[in-house]
């Protein structure tokens, strides 16, 4: 027989003003199973808690109900107190007679009757409460970082510097990401590569960072603290361990005219190449599609010239499995390609702007490569079509972004600032040139950002035209830009030498497929979803997976770095303990009754339900049942409401508890 203790709090006068607390204590005392009931001025105060602890010992109480404020307020307080008195904390429940009763009713009789019923309900509930042991999950203190851009690099360095091993996986042959492509960065105009490459080298040299470039995530299994990740290492055809990075192979390669993706296809590279001179690792990769050896079986020059014998045509894709405890996703962004309609996407293209058709209509990243000292033009702004210096240049903002009619309604956040930067770079390099910018709004929140933007107009002589461009067309060697200046209300026509489109920031291609492997959610644009927009901005709803950088939404560099460090801090918090403790409100399967229909698995948003085979002593399969992984289960209970035979139960919210409450009414 349970010996339930009920403690009615006055909350000063907050409760006792409208609820006759003595009468509640008296009435509740008559309920079957209640051994002790009392009221007290402030239950949450030290004397109040001591009263509770003392009563548990003196009265040998088995279950506790504290009738006071909302459990959202003090459930932890009282459960701790109960634990201190030697009872399992989950044998304590709170009855909310303040927020749900005394504060919302005026009539004392009504409020008292309601309070008695609320407490009565919790008495019946607590009777059915079970001792719940805290769940502990071991933590593998190694992290996986997916994506080797600035976000991934920062997160990897922070975690590794803290003493934990990091696996950094990058899809491209080199880490560096988009930041390595940039010329200078706003708002300080410092050279992107100058600040980026040291970090890349730090990664390469870090004893605790294991770098897998030219590699992709194949499979993710497990749960927080205990992930098993299968990584596919694509065949590089060059042995990373023996290659010295001398570069002779690249010099001797007879194939030389392959457009370099890193330079936005403006520069050329050989078939065996590193994407850019500062690449990390500085190990070339053979582009098998363009290599003569792979196409015809002849050539083999690079292998002949390679001193250390690192070139290996026989190399195959290989799989490695790494055990990690946490995952940081930092897959970054891609730019909207306006001449293409992405397959299966609701997003429409901008055929009318001639990108891809008119050679001198380029996007922002191409401009970055033109402006970059290490770029294909050595930092000179030259037209791709004829190599002349453009004297009139038009920048158009919001290509794709904030264009609901084209299917993207969000702001890409970085374009206003980088366009202002482009006008400056242009002005610095082409002193007699004129830059025009078509813009809708200038969005410049951020430290020194608005000042930077103003500088582009006031000091660097960029002409900003508020309005949108309706059409572009080639006329001789000029590009006619037709638009409107809505501030003045006139049509504008500019004969430009070059047009730069600030195209929208989008998630990387395949972001959705990676999300499905990871079991994380993503929005309709494929940006990854954080667990809470305000309070958990770097965590995924799936425990143990964190987000950094533009894969979650458009971000500039400082914000990306900040989020990457925040994600690293979250990982380090997780790694600060050997075992992970969590509230034991998780679902459990009653295997004897489970028929293995897996309806629970179908509705579980967390992938916490697994299939488990039950075998007899001879090893014969008896049946396959559901198994809830307590490390992954978030405790929503959707599985239980779905299970037809109620063979999965959510601890803390069992059917017995719920029915007892309903029957108490």
């Amino acid at each position: 027989m349970s010996r339930i203790g009920v403690f009615i709090c006055h909350c000063g006068e907050n409760i006792s003003r409208t609820v006759d607390v003595e009468r509640v204590a008296q009435e509740v005392g008559k309920l079957p199973g209640v051994a002790f009931s009392t009221d007290y001025k402030y239950m949450c105060s030290d004397p109040g808690q001591n009263l509770l602890k003392k009563a548990i010992q003196d009265q040998k109480l088995s279950h506790i109900v504290v009738a006071a404020c909302s459990p959202r307020m003090h459930e932890k307080t009282f459960r701790k107190a109960v634990e201190a008195a030697g009872l399992n904390p989950f044998l304590c429940e709170m009855a909310n007679i303040r927020e749900h009763c005394s504060w919302v009713h005026e009539n004392k009789e009504e409020a008292t009757v309601k309070a008695v019923e609320i407490v009565g309900m919790m008495v019946e509930r607590v009777k059915k409460n079970r001792v719940l042991p805290t769940i502990t999950v071991p933590v593998t203190k190694r992290a996986l970082v997916i994506g080797g851009g600035i976000a991934g690099i920062q997160a990897a360095l922070d975690i590794a510097d803290c003493g934990h091993e990091v696996i950094l996986v990058e899809r491209e042959p080199s880490i560096g990401g988009h930041m390595a492509q940039l010329s200078e960065t706003f708002p300080t105009l410092d050279c992107s590569q100058c600040i980026m490459t040291p970090k890349m080298v730090d990664v390469a040299n870090h004893p605790r960072i294991k770098l897998y470039t030219y590699s992709e995530i194949e499979l993710v299994e497990g749960y927080i603290g205990n992930f098993q990740v299968t990584i596919k290492r694509k065949a590089r055809s060059v042995n990373e361990d023996t290659c010295t990075g001398c570069g002779v192979c690249m010099e001797k390669c007879p194939v030389r005219k392959i457009p370099n993706k890193f330079d936005c296809n403006l520069g050329m590279r050989p078939a065996i190449y590193v994407p850019f001179p500062q690449a990390v690792p500085n190990t070339p990769v053979i582009d098998r599609e363009n290599c003569i050896k792979f196409k015809t079986g002849k050539c083999g020059l690079c292998q002949k010239v390679c001193g250390p014998g690192a070139v290996d045509y026989e190399q195959e894709d290989s799989l490695v499995v790494e055990a990690v405890g946490a995952i940081v996703v930092a897959t970054g962004f891609d730019l909207y390609t306006i001449d293409e309609k992405p397959k299966g996407s609701a997003i429409k293209g901008y055929g009318e702007f001639g990108h891809g058709k008119i050679p001198d209509v380029i996007d922002g990243m191409t401009f970055e490569r033109l402006a970059s000292a290490s770029g294909p033009t050595g930092g000179k702004i030259l037209r791709p079509s004829d190599g002349r210096e453009p004297k009139q240049i038009v920048f158009i903002q919001c290509i794709g972004s904030r264009a609901r009619e084209k299917g993207i309604s969000y702001c890409s956040k970085v374009c206003c600032m980088y366009t202002a930067k482009h006008t400056m770079l242009y002005h610095h390099k082409v002193h007699d040139g004129q830059a025009y910018v078509f813009f809708m709004d200038a969005r410049t929140p951020g430290k020194s950002y608005d000042e930077f933007w103003r500088r582009s107009i006031e000091e660097e002589e960029a002409v900003y035209i508020r309005g949108m461009v309706s059409r572009l067309y080639q006329k001789g060697d000029k590009i006619v830009v037709m638009g409107s200046d809505i501030a003045v209300g006139v049509q504008v026509e500019i004969e430009a030498d070059m047009v730069v489109l600030a195209t929208a920031v989008q998630p990387q291609k395949g972001a959705d497929l990676l999300a499905q492997k990871l079991g994380i959610s993503y929005d309709k644009y494929n940006f990854y979803s954080e667990a809470h927009a305000k309070l958990r901005p770097v965590e995924c709803a799936t425990a143990g997976i964190y987000l950094a950088g533009a894969c979650q939404g458009p971000k500039d560099i400082p914000e990306t770095v900040g989020q990457a460090s925040a994600a690293a801090a979250k990982v380090m918090t997780l790694f600060s303990k050997d075992k992970l403790e969590r509230e034991p409100i998780v679902a459990r399967v009653k295997e004897s009754g489970c028929v293995g229909c897996f309806a629970c698995k179908k509705v579980c948003a967390y992938g916490a339900v697994e299939e488990k085979e039950i075998r007899d002593r001879q090893g014969n399969l008896i049946k396959t049942v559901a198994f809830v992984n307590p490390g992954v289960c978030a405790g929503c209970g959707t599985c239980q409401a779905t299970c037809p035979s109620k063979c999965v139960e959510l601890d803390g919210y069992t059917d017995e508890q719920v029915i007892a409450m309903i029957e108490a009414l």
Binding site: G593, V595, C597, F598, K602, T624, P644, S645, D655, I659
Partner: protein, 306 residues
Amino acid sequence: MTKPIDTSIYTAVTDAIRTEAQRILSEGQVSAIVGYAAARRKGSAQPIVISQPDDAAKLIFTPACVNNLAVYLTKAKKEIPKSGKIGIVVKGCDLKALSGLMGESQLKREDIYLIGVPCAGVLASTVQPATELTTDSIAPKCTECDAHLPTGCDFVPAQTPVAADLEKKYAAEITRLEALTPAERWAYWKEQFSKCIKCYACRQVCPFCFCEQCLCDRNKPQMVDTTPRPAGNTAWHIVRAMHLAGRCAGCAECERVCPMDIPLNLLNRKMAKELKELYDHEAGFEVLDKGPLNMFTEKDDQSFIK
């Protein structure tokens, strides 16, 4: 006006089933076959499990072959030999149930050999088994049948059933009940449910009631009163209908076997109607990964939510 329904193909169908059953049993393709055999009462049929090629001659298909044999392949029926592949004679409506069971991981397609039956209809439970099949004596479910010819089976006799165009009995009855006031509908069901004696025939014949531990047999907590009183009966039938919503394949076995003539399939048809309207779900031959109540879309109707 009562019109006969053409069941002339059933003789040829019976022959074809026997030949096929004989073949697959003697070739060892299956270890047993669940089918129909003639029973003692005139014109009646009953389920039979055969494992010898010689017994293939016992198999029949007649308008009295009403049972949904899918129930014999569920976990609720552990007695049917599970050593190896099982052959089963299925009408279109029964095949839908098997597809549902596959979707719910209760069966694997490769473990069963499907002998599909071209079917023009079977007899209602209210008539004697020897009755001629007519527009009056036909089972109500057959009036709404869209699956006279099963597809995706391992074997289907070549005959084509002549499907009569019949008044849809459930649809008509649902429309009638929907037009009543809630109080009138309550009175209707109260009268029906009060007859229930909790023999659980409806549960036991249902291919989807494969739970090892029925929620309604549990007493800790007692979710549904087990006593055959009006309160417990009503709760049982509501819970039963809810548990079958989105799963029921429409074989109407529950209604056929009810010794108290409770029109149970009406509840299931009503649920099917709602699921069709709300989520465009219909039970079919296709094996679905997720039933309509195990999934959602963000745009689901919520006009009923404040």
